[in-house]
């Protein structure tokens, strides 16, 4: 099932939480939804789930309008709200059974679906405890399990990995990746390596508007107008190396660091790296470091959301 969003807006008083955004997600795609706090991620996700009515715009899930046919759409959506609210008093299995029933899973399939969720989400050890007694990691797994128990075709996950330890984050990430092969997934986060590891596409929003929408690789490429090269040449007089490096074709700027280190700003292809290594070989300089740190996703994110 695909999601198509057009010209979506939502105002809270005079403030625009979401300001005319539009995008689509195809079946089998994982979309990473990025943005600073308060950018409108949660509001957008709530509108997709039919929890908040938009002031303007249309949302279609699998061709069904969220506003006009909310009951049909909800049956196909699994939603993990922000902060993962759950009924604390309920035992894990009862909670999953309740979710399955209200989502209209046929009585005969409920047991099988619950067993499947317990297996997929690794809940076996804790399945008889009450939700309120679980650790944060297990709570999160219960949240995911209740969102997926009716085998929805669309998954909307609002910050599924907040508050988890690094091991748990990797586990949840793997889970999302696996689920995302067959389903349509939108998940929001502000952990950047996470989107790189899991998403097919990244959507960055800021102040209710889309500021970038591309695959992680494309996003990197877009931002590579100014490649950087780290170079270190030891045991040679700094000023000689400096002028030699500055003289190379394609080098815009050279900065010197301590102990023979240099940072070159240059054209974004590998020709400069090649000529640096040729230069050092020709003059018999000991070249101890030559690498391109690449553009970090963090920098792109800061660039796009700060101005």
């Amino acid at each position: 099932m695909d999601i198509r969003i057009e010209n979506l807006s939502k105002h809270y008083g005079p403030q625009a939480a979401v300001d005319g955004i539009g995008f689509s997600v195809n079946t089998g795609e994982v979309l990473g939804f990025l943005g600073p706090n308060g950018a409108g991620k949660t509001t957008t996700m709530k509108m997709i789930c039919g929890l908040v009515a938009p002031d303007q715009g249309t949302i279609r899930v699998g061709g069904h309008s969220v506003l006009k046919e909310p009951q049909i759409v909800r049956r196909h959506i699994g939603y993990l709200p922000e902060n993962n609210p759950l009924y604390e008093d309920m035992p894990v299995l009862d909670h999953l059974r309740f979710s399955a029933k209200v989502q209209g899973v046929p009585e005969g399939r409920i047991q099988e679906r619950i067993a499947e969720m317990v297996r997929v989400c690794g809940l076996d050890a804790e399945k008889h405890k009450r939700v309120g007694e679980l650790s944060k990691g297990y709570r999160q797994r219960v949240g995911l399990a209740q969102a997926m128990v009716h085998d929805p075709e669309v998954l909307i996950l609002d910050e599924p990995t907040t508050g988890l330890d690094p091991n748990q984050i990797v586990e949840i990430r793997e889970l999302i990746k696996e689920v995302g092969r067959a389903k349509t997934v939108i998940f929001s986060t502000h952990i950047l390596p996470e989107v790189e590891a899991t998403c097919d596409r990244i959507l960055i929003i800021s102040k209710g508007r889309i500021v970038a929408h591309a695959s992680p690789a494309d996003l990197r490429r877009q931002a590579q107008g100014r490649a950087v090269l780290n170079v270190r040449v030891e045991e040679v007089d700094v000023s000689i190396v400096y002028s030699a490096l500055a003289g190379l074709p394609g080098v815009d700027l050279v900065e010197t660091l301590a102990q023979g280190g240099f940072i070159l700003q240059c054209a974004p292809d590998m020709a400069v790296a090649r000529s640096v290594s040729a230069l050092c070989a020709e003059r018999h300089w000991p070249l101890t470091e030559l690498h391109s740190p690449g553009t970090r996703l963090e920098d792109i994110f800061r660039d796009l959301t700060l101005n």
Partner: protein, 240 residues
């Protein structure tokens, strides 16, 4: 209906999980038992085999207990965020409100069922007007339905349980006391309307064994008004 029932059973289970149900049953039976059999205008004062004194005591205890029961229904879910969870499932707002209503009513019905020994005791003492007793229980149940409806409405307005309790008590007091008092002071059409709005006259005539369709309609419309208000409030979530 299936999903409404699922929600109702889950709510009922949570009453028992959180001890709320046990406390309510204990205190309700304690207070009504104490005043019915032991103290004040108890059954023995009447000199007749009837349960009227129990009905008039339950009329007051339920008035105070129902808001404590209904205050958490929606307010608590709104505060913890589970309302978002529930409303994004494939259920309608009406199913959510009705499910909660049924759960509350079932708990009250259970509390009333626990007073069955009172009836059996009275039956063993003398000749009982069985019709009047059945009417009395029906009146208590209908009145409870009205207050549960209004209580759920109060609970839908806020995310603070205490505020929900106070709003429910405020609305309840109007129907339980104020309209009746003002009606007795007012004359003419105003007096009549207020008199009709008061809970007391409807409850009294019914608990004496007179089933008038006007009384039944009164209780049912109050219930419906409360539940529809709560449902509207849930549907309004997107429009704020």
């Amino acid at each position: 209906m299936g999903k409404t029932w699922t929600i109702a059973l889950k709510e009922l289970a949570s009453f028992f999980d959180s001890l709320m149900a046990y406390i309510l049953l204990f205190v309700f039976l304690g207070i009504s038992g104490f005043f019915t059999w032991w103290y004040g205008a108890d059954v023995f004062m009447a000199g007749q085999a009837e349960l009227a004194s129990f009905f008039s005591i339950a009329y007051w205890t339920l008035f105070f207990f129902i808001p404590t029961l209904t205050m958490r229904t929606l307010a608590e879910e709104r505060r913890t965020g589970t309302l978002d969870l529930l409303l994004t499932k494939a259920v309608t707002d009406r199913q959510v409100v009705l499910g909660k209503f049924i759960a509350n009513l079932m708990l009250i019905a259970l509390a009333l069922l626990c007073t069955l020994p009172y009836y059996l005791t009275i039956v063993s003492i003398g000749d009982v007007d069985h019709g009047a007793v059945i009417c009395g229980y029906l009146a208590l149940l209908l009145m409870s339905a009205s207050y549960i409806g209004l209580g759920i409405l109060a609970s839908s307005l806020t995310q603070n349980q205490l505020v929900a309790f106070l709003i429910a008590l405020l609305i309840g007091t109007s129907f339980h006391l104020l309209f009746g008092i003002v009606a007795s002071a007012a004359t003419g059409a105003v007096g009549e309307v207020l008199g009709f709005l008061g809970m007391g006259t409807h409850f009294d005539s019914m608990s004496r064994g007179v089933v008038d369709s006007r009384d039944v309609i009164y209780f049912l419309s109050l219930t419906a008004a409360g539940l529809m208000g709560a449902e509207l409030r849930l549907a309004k979530r997107g429009l704020k």
